[in-house]
Subunit: 212 residues, 2 copies
Amino acid sequence: MDKKVSLAVIKRLPRYYRFLGDLLDNGIKRISSKELSEKMDVTASQIRQDLNNFGCFGQQGYGYNVELLFEEIKEILGLNKTYNLVILGAGKIGQALLNYSKFEKRGFNFIGIFDTNPNIIGTKIRDLDVKDIKELEKFTKENNVDIAILAVPGTNAYDLYKDVVSYGIKGIWNFSNTELKKEEGVIVENVHLTDSLMTLAYKFNSNNFIEE
Amino acid sequence: MDKKVSLAVIKRLPRYYRFLGDLLDNGIKRISSKELSEKMDVTASQIRQDLNNFGCFGQQGYGYNVELLFEEIKEILGLNKTYNLVILGAGKIGQALLNYSKFEKRGFNFIGIFDTNPNIIGTKIRDLDVKDIKELEKFTKENNVDIAILAVPGTNAYDLYKDVVSYGIKGIWNFSNTELKKEEGVIVENVHLTDSLMTLAYKFNSNNFIEE
């Protein structure tokens, strides 16, 4: 593909994927672009443009074949593979993520959880023993770790990030509310919960915004 | 203001606010747009354009006065006020949010946490007693609740959302991974963790995207 896809488009794909999954669960086999647009509260032309980036076309007068489109987006998102994840930080956020069954359904498998607190190390959360973070390097060598979840406080996050990258882990899901400097070949996806709450505060106080 | 601001701009404001806060904490009083741009990995012209939407101007040859800009963005985001929040769902996510001290620093105060599980109702989390969700209507009448956090599984979220809106709560921070139909006068901010993880999977597999 010559033209790169904007990140805004990519960030909309998971939502299409979720909607199509719900339609499938409800036994709906095809849907017009107009219906899909109404359900998703996005213009039909936006949907068409987004999907055209990946060569997913609806048929004129037929609309979209739900299962086909679901499978195509699944492949585009890389969800036809599975991923091994480790959670770094066995606090509330780490535990919440480990207990979130939706991730496994999508092919994201938790294979380890690590902490620094001696009171937590050795305890069992779900079906995993909490390991000492000092064992992470060895663990990474012995297991194929795709993604590390940084669920530690911001003050510890940067050093841990550097370690994780040096161990060769290529995907970082960052809950630490710290900005992590980009490293060549490493993908960082940030979840800034305070940013989301601040955006809510803005909208709460002002109607000076347009949805897009 | 005549021209409405795009949501993409608004979603960048919290990040500016965080960066400026860090600069202030480090005793930095002014910064050139070039330096700010390098630190934030955003073009200087993007920063200028974003801030111009709200009439925040840097001075030619001086750059930005960090404290002034910080205070302006704080006011734009509505963070010069405080907000009362209730958490609906005292599971791991609800507990993690309640323990997140950063929110209070920004003026978001947790005044109640509710659940349906009789084993959890009556227990104490941090300094709050978990209340029966049946008490939420009464609680909302007696207290000024600005924002309800939906930290319940998707299957229960929609009915709860309808209830919450009928009680007059105007802000919803939605962790349920369910789409909530827009209601007049109600602001919904969604945190879709699976979407974020799927975006990470995409980037992990493909370099066909441009950051923006």
